[in-house]
């Protein structure tokens, strides 16, 4: 399976999905004009990876700003990992935040409150 590489722009995240390592990292700021157009290929890559018999996946979120449409799609990614985890896969979510960034820390906390998949909040 191919890796997923999306270069960052002023309003979209950098994304690298490493199929061999079973890991995908999303970093930067996200306020795309069309969030569906940006995030659907990412969700699709994760689904394909899982369908190829993957046993584990790690998602690293290293975001510093996300608009509300992007929050919704991040929630969809987390939900996908949760479904995978409940079905017997090993899913892990790592949520990174800067020491002085309460917004991103709070956002991570809120996601962590409701998921049944290992969710690590990590101060950078």
């Amino acid at each position: 399976m191919n890796n997923l590489t999306i270069e960052k722009t002023k309003s979209t995240l950098k994304v690298f999905g490493d199929a061999n390592a079973g890991k995908i990292e999303l970093s930067g700021s996200s306020f795309p004009e069309n969030a569906a157009e940006f995030f659907l290929p990412i969700l699709s890559w994760i689904s394909s990876y899982m369908l190829e018999g993957a046993e584990s996946i790690i998602v690293d979120f290293k975001v510093d700003y996300v608009n509300s449409s992007s929050i919704k799609y991040i929630s969809d990614i987390i939900e996908k990992i949760e479904v995978f985890h409940k079905a017997g896969g090993a899913g892990v979510i790592n949520w990174y935040y800067a020491e002085d960034d309460e917004d991103i820390q709070d956002m991570g906390n809120e996601f962590a409150e409701d998921v049944l998949v290992p969710f690590n909040l990590i101060q950078e």
């Binding site: 004009e33 969030a35 509300s68 449409s69 929050i71 799609y73 309460e102 809120e110 409701d114």
Partner: protein, 167 residues
């Protein structure tokens, strides 16, 4: 009463390039460098309001293959905090729906807003919405203040929607 200090003002078409430029301008504004939390909240609300104009303004022009909304957005430092104002045209039939949504959000306490936000993250996006239906909820939560709303009637079934949020 002190005179408000203008931090940002734009009147025109809210292309993605304009919104990216606004983001850069706010993030680098000298008046906002001493309070990183205020800056974060301000960036969030300004981009949400700008993207609402981009998507939902009734006054649109064609930019490439997409239609992009026109409107007005300003950010001012006032004695009572930072005020973000957004204005754009809407069709009159949308007025009641917007009024009801904002009145409901303004009536909710912090915990209820958090609960609503969680529900909305898991729900499908509302019909006729390009966004996630989360924007107004998150703006209300992050500002900690009621969303101020005003409608100015135009002619030909068009109303000017004016939203002000104070941080």
């Amino acid at each position: 009463m002190g005179t408000p200090i203008s931090i940002y003002q734009y009147d025109g078409t809210f292309t993605q390039r304009v919104i990216e430029g606004m983001h850069e301008e706010i993030v680098n504004h000298p008046l906002l460098q001493s309070n990183s939390q205020l800056l974060k909240t301000l960036v969030f609300i300004a981009i949400e309001l700008a993207q609402n104009i981009q998507r939902y303004s009734a006054n649109k022009i064609k930019c490439g293959i997409t239609w992009t909304g026109k409107g007005f957005l300003s950010i001012e430092q006032t004695e009572n905090g930072v005020k973000i104002k957004a204005k754009n045209q809407i069709e009159q039939e949308g007025q009641t729906r917007i009024k009801n949504v904002i009145e409901k959000l303004n009536s909710l306490d912090e915990d209820s807003l958090k609960e609503l936000s969680k529900q909305q993250k898991k729900a499908d996006a509302p019909q006729n919405s390009v966004g996630a239906g989360l924007g107004l909820i998150e703006m209300r939560r992050k500002s900690g203040n009621p969303i101020e709303l005003e409608f100015i009637e135009y002619e030909n079934n068009i109303t000017l929607l004016c939203i002000t949020i104070t941080i």
